[in-house]
């Protein structure tokens, strides 16, 4: 009877992110010199989708009450790897894609194994593994370069039927193939349960470890899909330290904007995708209003700070002050 209200409450974060994105995108396109055209949408989509993949990756780990500071570096590493492998004949290209995605999965699995079985804190673990992944990326591409199967790249970053950005379609496909099954599987629920209350989950006989491990591993895979797309988008590989770090940081902003709780157990990757698209659009607003691009990092920093502060409001309602520290 009141089912829709519970649904609404559950999706509030996602809907809010969707709303912010729509409003920002309308402001963006209506002030864009070219206006709302297929071209503008395609470019925005290609940029937004990169962050959306990394934000999805971050979501999986944040749901378990962890954080993955290596997503940006997995993104960079797989970009460099793809610039070596994803070329040649159809078979060779297909092999390259599989190898790149497999590498991402492996990176995520390593993070998961260390955090879960080595019992190290996620933040420390992923700073360290992120540094390692970047180191490998640098060896692969000491200088920007390489190439990619351009037919595939153009197909996936172009438009379908002349209007629909192909990258959005791929994003949708990834949601359907990775996120939806995960969120509805027992392991996905275990990841949520572990993030919300690991002890209650343990007492209920939930497979906490496998759930968390799956979340970390899939995070690596999603970051690799992002890295692959970066290669399709730029036709090259580059071990760019600053860019990798920026993606990690922005993925956290996107996740928070998307209604995913940094305390774990709450939120969805769909919300994070809209968070990512909204964050990108807000950042690009500066361009259409002709601000100096130098302002962009400061502007994005402020948005990140505001987004993170939103999560702290619940503390005002706590009646036992000791619970502040739990």
């Amino acid at each position: 009877m009141k089912d829709w209200r519970y649904w609404l409450a559950e999706q509030r974060g996602t809907l809010l992110a969707f709303g912010i994105f729509i409003v920002m995108f309308i402001i963006y396109t209506s002030n864009h010199p070219a206006g709302f055209t297929a071209n503008v949408v395609q470019t925005a989509s290609n940029k937004g989708v990169l962050l959306a993949f990394v934000a999805m990756a971050q979501t999986l780990v944040v749901i378990t009450a962890g954080i993955d500071l290596s997503v940006g570096m997995i993104f960079t590493l797989t970009n460099c790897l793809a610039s070596w492998l994803v070329i040649g004949t159809g078979i060779e290209t297909a092999f390259g894609v599989v190898a790149v995605l497999g590498t991402g999965l492996l990176c995520g699995a390593i993070n998961g194994a260390i955090v879960i079985y080595g019992r190290l804190q996620p933040i420390v673990t992923t700073i360290a593994t992120g540094a390692v992944y970047f180191g490998i990326a640098l060896l692969l591409r000491p200088f920007p370069g390489g190439s990619v199967n351009e037919d595939l790249a153009d197909a996936l970053t172009g438009r379908l039927f002349g209007v629909v950005p192909a990258s959005l379609v791929v994003l949708l496909a990834v949601v359907l193939v990775v996120w939806v099954p995960f969120s509805r599987s027992v392991l996905g629920r275990a990841a949520y349960a572990a993030g919300s209350s690991e002890m209650a989950a343990y007492m209920s006989g939930v497979p906490i470890r496998r759930g968390k491990f799956t979340a970390y591993a899939l995070a690596g895979l999603l970051a690799a899909i992002g890295g692959l797309f970066l290669t399709f988008f730029t036709y090259t590989g580059e071990a760019a330290y600053a860019s990798g770090n920026a993606y990690t940081l922005f993925s956290i902003a996107a996740v928070v904007l998307g209604g995913v709780s940094l305390f774990g157990g709450k939120g969805s990757a769909i919300g994070a995708i809209f968070g990512a698209l909204a964050f990108r659009t807000i950042g690009d607003l500066l361009f259409v209003f002709d601000f100096d691009p130098l302002w962009q990092p400061l502007f994005q920093g402020v948005i990140l700070l505001i987004a993170v502060s939103l999560g702290a409001f619940a503390l005002f309602r706590v009646r036992n002050r000791l619970e502040w520290f739990l």
Binding site: Y6, E10, S196, S197, A200, S204, G205, N320
Partner: protein, 522 residues
């Protein structure tokens, strides 16, 4: 019950935590189609027993038999699979998930490898209806439900697992009277369906209504089993008493009735549903105990004094003047001069990786510093005094406090507060998990501080301590002061029966703690 074939048997189960024996060759057998009550005072081993049964804790020795063959449980999940389901006191619900998610959490219905939400909804609604809680919406988030509703979800969750043995550990403590009646109906139905139920409760009237069989635990052992209704309340209390008096207590001073105004006074303190109209006084030189079962509001009362709780109603008076204590920093301020020795020294009392020296001076840094710079010489003097006073055994002041033994860690926590020379000392079960020798030293110290003029409010789960140390004891039940025991009235029998809220013969409930302390050298 002797004729029935036991469904489950525990034989010679022992479990030690460090040097503390929680269970010592305990035996228990459970028959289908009956409700078996487990009784015992705090620390008698009941909780450990069911933790062993439910796969949370592995026993050091002994064996468990299910259907006549030996079983071991590596995890709660393993016990569930064998049909043993436990409803724990500390809730096992995941707050951010919905009621339905929680009910099916250990084995959700699946379709094509994914969770079938429609089937899940059906299972949840069925289970809620069986538990008599159909008013709870299966899509509501657990964190949005009040405690009594959560407890009902917990029960529905247990039922959804189709248990053969259902263990309820104080499962009714958070429930409203209407819910308790519903649950009793459910439990009786389950019994007629052939389930074995283990029921742990401190409420004697509940046990009288429900149980077929009772087993009393004491000191980690089962000391008596009898058919329900064959023993009176007083006889049961007698069975629960009988702990060895292993501690030596300092003599209590014989004092003239205190004429001095109380140093610490509470008037009608209430907070959420945990504290209910509590009034009490503590005078200088007095050791006032807080008794009762675990979790009746004692901890919250101490936190209320120490300025940790928000939204407190009622008044706190220091030296007869009303004060508003807004934080621990305000409470320790010289005008109030309060110290709280917390229950969990590892999280609330000490910074384990930091050194003994640093930990000792934390609470007194403002007194030891001028313009923000610490006076190292003054600090050293005070620390030396404290180490000597409390006889803290440490290899040095600059080793991590985590390297000390439990007893010495606790001494550091106490010394840290004594460095401020507090006038009011609140102690929250300070001797839990420390050795007997250190306990004795702490008892001596407490009395010494009182003799020097401190007002001491002392919560302990160990009845011996309350008897041995306190001039007066207030027994709490459901967040309210149920009884005040003065001097020679403080006996184990009186403590237990008032803790269980049994109104027996001469045990009339006295009023609030307004009576001054009497001489107490029994």
């Amino acid at each position: 019950m002797d004729g029935a074939v036991p469904l489950f048997r525990m034989e010679g189960i022992s479990k030690r935590y460090g040097g503390v024996r929680a269970l010592e060759k305990a035996e228990l057998s459970v028959t289908p189609g009956s409700i078996h009550a487990i009784l015992g005072e705090n620390g008698a081993g009941k909780s450990t027993l069911i933790k062993v049964m439910a796969g949370v804790v592995a026993p050091d020795e002994g064996r468990m038999m299910l259907d006549g063959s030996e079983v071991t449980f590596a995890s709660p999940a393993a016990a569930n699979q064998a049909g043993i389901v436990c409803i724990f006191q500390e809730l096992s619900l995941v707050p951010e998930l919905s009621v339905a998610d929680n009910i099916v959490i250990s084995d959700p219905p699946k379709r094509f490898g994914m969770i079938d939400r429609k089937a899940q909804r059906r299972v949840a609604e069925e289970a809620l209806a069986r538990a008599g809680a159909a008013d709870i919406h299966p899509l509501a988030l657990v964190k949005d439900l009040p405690l009594s509703r959560r407890q009902m979800v917990e029960i529905a969750k247990a039922l959804a697992r189709k248990p053969r043995i259902l263990i309820l550990d104080e499962a009714t403590s958070a429930l409203t009277a209407a819910d308790v009646a519903k649950i009793f109906g459910v439990l009786k139905r389950l019994r007629s369906e052939g389930l074995a139920l283990l029921y742990i409760s401190h409420r004697m009237n509940e046990i009288a209504e429900l149980a077929d069989q009772c087993t009393v635990f004491r000191n980690g052992r089962n000391v008596a089993s009898y058919a329900a209704g064959t023993k009176g309340d007083n006889e049961v209390v007698e069975l629960m008493i009988g702990r060895e008096y292993s501690h030596i207590f300092p003599p209590k001073p014989v004092r003239a009735p205190a004429t001095a105004a109380p140093v610490l006074e509470a008037r009608k303190l209430s907070w959420t549903d945990r504290l209910d109209n509590i009034s009490l006084t503590v005078s200088a030189g007095e050791v006032v105990g807080l008794g009762g079962l675990d979790g009746q509001g004692q901890r919250e009362l101490l936190l209320a004094f120490f300025g940790v709780l928000r939204g407190l109603s009622g008044q706190i008076l220091i030296d007869g003047r009303p004060v508003a204590i807004s934080s621990p920093a305000a409470a320790r301020d010289d005008r109030i001069g309060m110290a709280l020795i917390p229950e969990d020294r590892k999280t609330e009392g000490l910074m384990l990786p930091m050194t003994v020296r640093e930990n000792l001076s934390f609470a007194a840094l403002d007194r030891l510093s001028r313009a923000g710079i610490i006076d190292r010489a003054a600090e050293q003097r005070l620390i030396d005094d404290m180490v000597a006073l409390l006889a803290i055994k440490t290899a040095g002041l600059d080793i991590p406090v985590g390297a000390l033994s439990g007893g010495n860690q606790q001494k550091v926590v106490i010394a840290k507060w004594l460095m401020r020379k507090p006038r009011i000392i609140l102690l929250n079960d300070p001797t839990r998990g420390i050795d007997v020798g250190t306990k004795q030293e702490l008892y001596q110290l407490m009395r010494k501080l009182a003799d020097q003029g401190a007002a001491i409010l002392f919560y302990s789960t160990d009845y011996d301590e309350l008897i041995g140390c306190c001039d007066r004891v207030l027994v709490l039940y459901d967040g309210a002061v149920k009884r005040e025991l003065v001097g020679a009235e403080i006996t184990e029998r009186a403590l237990i029966s008032s803790a269980l809220n049994i109104h027996g013969e001469e045990m009339a409930v006295t009023g609030m703690a307004k009576t001054p302390a009497r001489g107490a050298d029994a």
